[in-house]
């Protein structure tokens, strides 16, 4: 699996965090963080992101 956030595009708005069904995403000191042990690469975060900053490959 490959999950990527483009930190230059991400505005740290939290839209993705609010829809993550596994509570894998959080906004930390360095911006968006993904706990890979929880992430299931479902791609819901990518669909919620208003800035198009997330890429998910299954």
């Amino acid at each position: 699996m490959a999950w990527k956030v483009d930190r230059k595009k991400c505005l740290r708005c939290g839209a993705c965090v609010s829809v993550c069904p596994k509570h894998a995403l959080s906004l930390g000191e360095h911006g968006l963080e993904n706990d890979r042990s929880k992430c299931i690469s479902c791609g819901i975060c990518k669909k919620a992101c208003p800035a198009g900053s997330i890429e998910v490959e299954k």
Binding site: L11, C13, G14, A15, C16, V17, S18, V19, C20, P21, H23, S26, L27, I44, K47, A48, C49, P50, A51, G52
Partner: protein, 394 residues
């Protein structure tokens, strides 16, 4: 680790957090409001519009918070026809959130609340099935803040609710993706009216808005959902396709956010815990406005919490009075508005054009408040294909 004791800790100093804190402090409750950002009110995740009715809840808004007065709206259908809502007099404001939110926090402080910016809640303390406070990072110092009740007012992502064990995850179908530029140098046809543009091509399941903040300044934003591309893509395309408005414009600020537009929570409380505002999905599902909803919910929450503290019972059962009152005062109405959203999102551009032909501005205002939906159903039923959809409204 430093230890502190309060009756109530509020996580988040937006309009919801300040509303709870101010109203609790007024009732003599010892309350601490923590804001993780270094500046209350910034960055905004908001179009900044509100109606005068909000002042009935929070008092007269100081002029320094107000960017522009609004006297109506103009709504464009996909075919380019517009419906004008002209109040003939001022009916609302576009505010400056970084000034407005600070004012709300000043008011909370003046009422007796303690407020601290750059103070992040790091965890929720739970003992014997009760939330008993939070741990927080304030200026790199670890604090343990004991409290009888914790309030999550930490916005759409509501990490604090999750840490407490309240499931507030938004369904993708109930989340609008918002993207916005604050722009200057705009050529606006009327800078005292908000302008909305509908259309499945312009903004899939949403709309583009222009909220004027001055002669040539406005928040230009978009909310979309279940779209093929990110919200930003559609906003940029809209700007590209409307050179008459944007030819000489510049981008002053970039904003983004997720907007809960439905999926209201039956339960918003736990033992010693309660959620308000975006964190509890308290937003109008048709226009996406949350300022007023957060304020109202904050007032209800403060009322219930102070009574529970007085009664020495902050159990989920006692705090669920908040669920009951919110659903009575707001939930029922907003649930109707959610139905309206579910219907409008199924309409084609052709249907929207038809509505623009027959509906008046006054109708649209009533619909957005969850009123007179039967009238909309009647209009939709004129088209045999829309009968089933119309029935959803009745």
């Amino acid at each position: 680790m430093m230890n502190e004791n309060y009756d109530v800790v509020v996580a988040g100093a937006g309009p919801g957090g300040s509303s709870v804190s101010k109203n609790l402090a007024r009732k003599g409750v010892k309350v601490l409001m923590l804001e993780k950002r270094q500046e209350i009110g910034s960055p905004k995740r908001c179009g900044e519009g509100l109606t005068f009715s909000t002042e009935k809840l929070i008092g007269k808004i100081p002029s320094r918070c107000i960017a522009q007065t609004i006297n109506g709206a103009k709504i464009y259908s996909p075919g380019g026809k517009s419906v004008m809502i002209d109040f003939g007099e001022n009916m609302g404001y576009v505010v400056e959130r970084k000034v407005f939110d600070k004012w709300l926090a000043f008011e909370a402080v003046r009422a007796g609340a303690r407020v601290r910016a750059k103070a992040e809640v790091t965890d929720v303390i739970k003992e014997d099935g009760f939330v008993k406070g939070v741990t927080a990072d304030i200026d790199r110092k670890e604090y343990r803040i004991n409290s009888k009740v914790v309030v999550a007012a930490d916005g759409v992502e509501s990490i604090v609710s999750r840490k407490a064990g309240l499931e507030t995850t938004n369904q993708l179908v109930n989340l609008d993706s918002g993207y916005q530029y604050e722009m200057a140098g705009l050529n606006m046809e009327d800078n005292h009216k908000i302008i909305l543009y509908f259309g499945t091509q312009v903004a899939p399941r949403g709309y583009v808005w222009i909220f004027p903040k001055g002669r040539d300044v406005a928040n230009v934003g978009i909310g979309t959902a279940m779209a093929d591309r990110p919200a930003k893509y559609y906003l940029d395309a809209f700007i590209e396709n409307n050179p008459k408005i944007f030819k000489k414009s510049g981008i002053i600020e970039v904003n983004a956010g997720g907007i809960p537009v439905g999926g209201f929570l039956e339960n918003m409380v736990l033992n010693g815990f309660l959620a308000v505002g975006d964190a509890a999905h308290q937003v109008n599902p048709i226009h996406g406005g949350g300022l007023k909803e957060a304020t109202i919910a904050g007032q209800i929450a403060a009322d219930v919490i102070s009574k529970c503290i007085d009664g020495n019972d902050v159990s989920q059962k006692a705090l669920s009075e908040y669920n009951k009152r919110w659903w009575q005062e707001r939930g029922k109405k907003l649930k109707n508005v959610e139905k309206l959203r579910q219907v409008t999102e199924k309409l084609s551009d052709k249907d929207l054009n038809m509505l623009a032909d027959v509906l008046k501005g006054d109708h649209l205002i009533e619909f957005s408040r969850g009123n007179k939906l039967a009238l909309l159903a009647k209009v939709l039923m004129k088209n045999p294909k829309l009968i089933l959809l119309a029935r959803h409204l009745i």
